[in-house]
């Protein structure tokens, strides 16, 4: 299996990145802030006013190092991409499948099944760890029903419908899983989130989604053409498909841990004039560090039977999806929490 390479988050404004032989150098004015061997870096994410030398851009593109730019608030701006990798046959098949209702359903069903199974697994785990809770138990039962329904779903629409219901069952008890009284959750609100918990969830989802984009590009699949999510200009449909398997066990659990361990407090959020709630800059930096640490945690991959760090899961699943498209497996084996 690949090595989990480090992701470099550059948040210090006015920084300048350039290449020095086989290393990446970060400077601020005349001062050298840091220097890393390029071989150890898998992604460079720049937030705000950061500049990068064209030679480093070219090197990143050539070496497959993801280089992307975001606003200071984490809104995606641009990504540097070299020649597409992988083969045209893989992408052609991907497009054909996306257009073929049966094939698309085949893959979408399993992605949603894994998502629902994983939601249910984390609820059951909470029940084991924190004792009886009738509403959690009820939600887990509902999720089991959704899982049975999705097994016989015959279209992507039906699959999406079941997925929506399952998400409602799951989020209906999300507030029960928050310990302490700092924060409340009254349902998922997106674009923009108007409370801290939703802001945290959106933040975590966008981080994992970007990892999925990089992973898909890395194996030669087109992140814009999905099976579960339909095409919309600019929508990273396949990356959104792939994220589904990781939401409950990776992103949501990360958010719950931050809240329940009191690693975030109400002061870490600011409300814009329009009502959107976002993390302060200081908090975002701290959370990025926590997120990087979480990525190092090793798990046993249920299909590959190999120990892999969580951060490599998007790559593992992108690879398994690509191999399925290329005919190595009869079904796409989605990621399941054990």
């Amino acid at each position: 299996m690949k090595k989990l390479l480090n992701t470099l988050y550059v948040t210090r404004q006015e920084s300048y990145l350039h290449k020095e032989r086989e290393t990446i150098v970060i400077k601020n004015g005349p001062d050298k802030l840091a220097q890393f061997p390029a071989l150890a870096i898998g992604n460079i994410f720049c937030f705000g006013q950061i500049s990068v030398s064209p030679f480093l851009m070219g090197y990143c593109a050539e070496q497959g190092i993801g280089l992307a730019f975001y606003t200071e608030y984490g809104r995606f701006l641009a990504r540097v991409q070299g020649k597409p990798t992988g083969n045209v046959l893989l992408r052609r098949t991907q497009y054909r499948w996306a257009d073929d209702p049966d094939k698309a359903t085949d893959v979408a069903r399993l992605m949603v099944a894994a998502k629902i199974a994983n939601c249910r697994s984390v609820l059951l785990r909470d029940l084991r760890n924190h004792g009886e809770n009738s509403s959690l138990k009820q939600a887990a039962k509902k999720l089991a029903v959704s899982l049975r329904q999705v097994q016989s779903a015959h279209s992507v629409e039906t699959t999406r419908g079941i997925e929506g219901e399952a998400a409602n069952s799951y989020f209906s008890v999300f507030n029960e899983r928050l310990r302490g009284s700092h924060f409340r959750f009254d349902g998922r609100i997106r674009r923009p989130p108007t409370d801290p918990v939703n802001a945290l969830l959106s933040f975590a989802y966008s981080l994992v989604t970007q990892e999925c984009v990089s992973a898909l590009l890395g194996v030669g699949l087109d992140p814009y053409v999905g099976f579960l999510h339909s095409d919309r200009p600019g929508r990273l449909s396949l990356a959104l498909d792939l994220v589904e398997e990781f939401r409950a066990s990776w992103a949501d659990r990360f958010v719950l841990t931050l809240i329940n361990r009191r690693q975030v407090c109400p002061e870490d959020f600011e409300t814009e004039a329009g009502g959107a709630v976002r993390l302060t800059e200081k908090a975002r930096k701290e959370l990025l560090v926590a997120y990087q640490e979480r990525k190092q945690t090793e798990i046993m991959h249920p299909y590959l039977h190999e120990k892999v760090p969580i951060g490599l899961l998007p790559h593992c699943q992108a690879m398994l999806l690509a191999r399925h498209v290329r005919g190595d497996t009869r079904y796409y084996p989605p990621y399941l929490v054990k």
């Binding site: 899982l147 049975r148 079904y331």
Partner: protein, 219 residues
């Protein structure tokens, strides 16, 4: 010319059809120590110029093509032996291939050399009866006789490799795991995960999880 096979691809096919498919159909290339060293060695070999010593001209990095077989590639070295004084013969061509490793029992290096011989025969309208493989690890040159059996094996591999290329399909990993150990594509190919398709039972198990009516949380 686009659908001509690279001579080096024949060796990939003979070694492992899946490796061939990953490199030539899926355009995957993962450099490991072996191929990187091989490349450096080749760069050194290819960098040479033709030299002439006692009736033999040594030409390096010679472009080869066979329109009949649809092959294209490069010979590391071709020795062109001038005919003896006063004889009305054409020169004798002797291809030499450089390999990083050690001599192998299997045919795959010889197949590559034989394919080069077939190209030379077509291009120069001559007969190539012999060549050699130079093994870097043992610093030794092993002669190879281009006989009928080797020619047939080579033609079979050309045929099979072309069929696979046209089909666009990637076959499953081979059973001979020893070859996977030295393969530069092992990480991409993942023979352990794809030798047997375990996806059917894996996927069935997702749905069986929920058939547990007790919702029991004892583990």
């Amino acid at each position: 010319m686009d659908d001509y096979l690279a001579i080096s691809a024949l060796q990939h096919y003979a070694y492992c059809p899946r490796q061939f498919a990953l490199i030539h159909i899926e355009q995957a290339w993962s450099e490991n120590r072996l191929t990187a060293e091989g490349r450096l060695l080749h760069e050194r070999v290819d960098a040479g110029y033709a030299e002439q010593r006692r009736g033999v001209r040594y030409e390096r990095g010679v472009l080869l093509v066979s329109h009949q077989l649809g092959l294209t590639g490069k010979a590391d070295l071709i020795e062109v032996h001038s005919p003896n004084e006063g004889k009305q013969e054409s020169p004798r061509y002797f291809p030499v291939e450089y390999k990083r490793g050690r001599p192998k029992i299997e045919d795959w290096d010889r197949i590559q050399l034989c394919a080069q011989a077939l190209c030379i025969e077509e291009m120069r309208n001559t007969q190539v009866t012999e060549g050699a493989i130079w093994y870097w690890q043992v610093r030794r040159r092993k002669p190879v006789i281009i006989d009928a059996a080797l020619r047939q094996t080579t033609l079979d591999v050309i045929e099979a490799a072309r069929r696979m290329l046209l089909s666009g399909e990637t076959p499953p990993p081979i059973d001979e795991r020893r070859r996977c150990k030295a393969c530069s594509l092992a990480e991409l190919c993942n023979p352990k995960a794809f030798a047997r398709d375990r996806s059917v039972s894996y996927v069935n198990a997702i749905f069986q999880e929920s058939d547990d009516p007790s919702e029991d949380s004892q583990e």
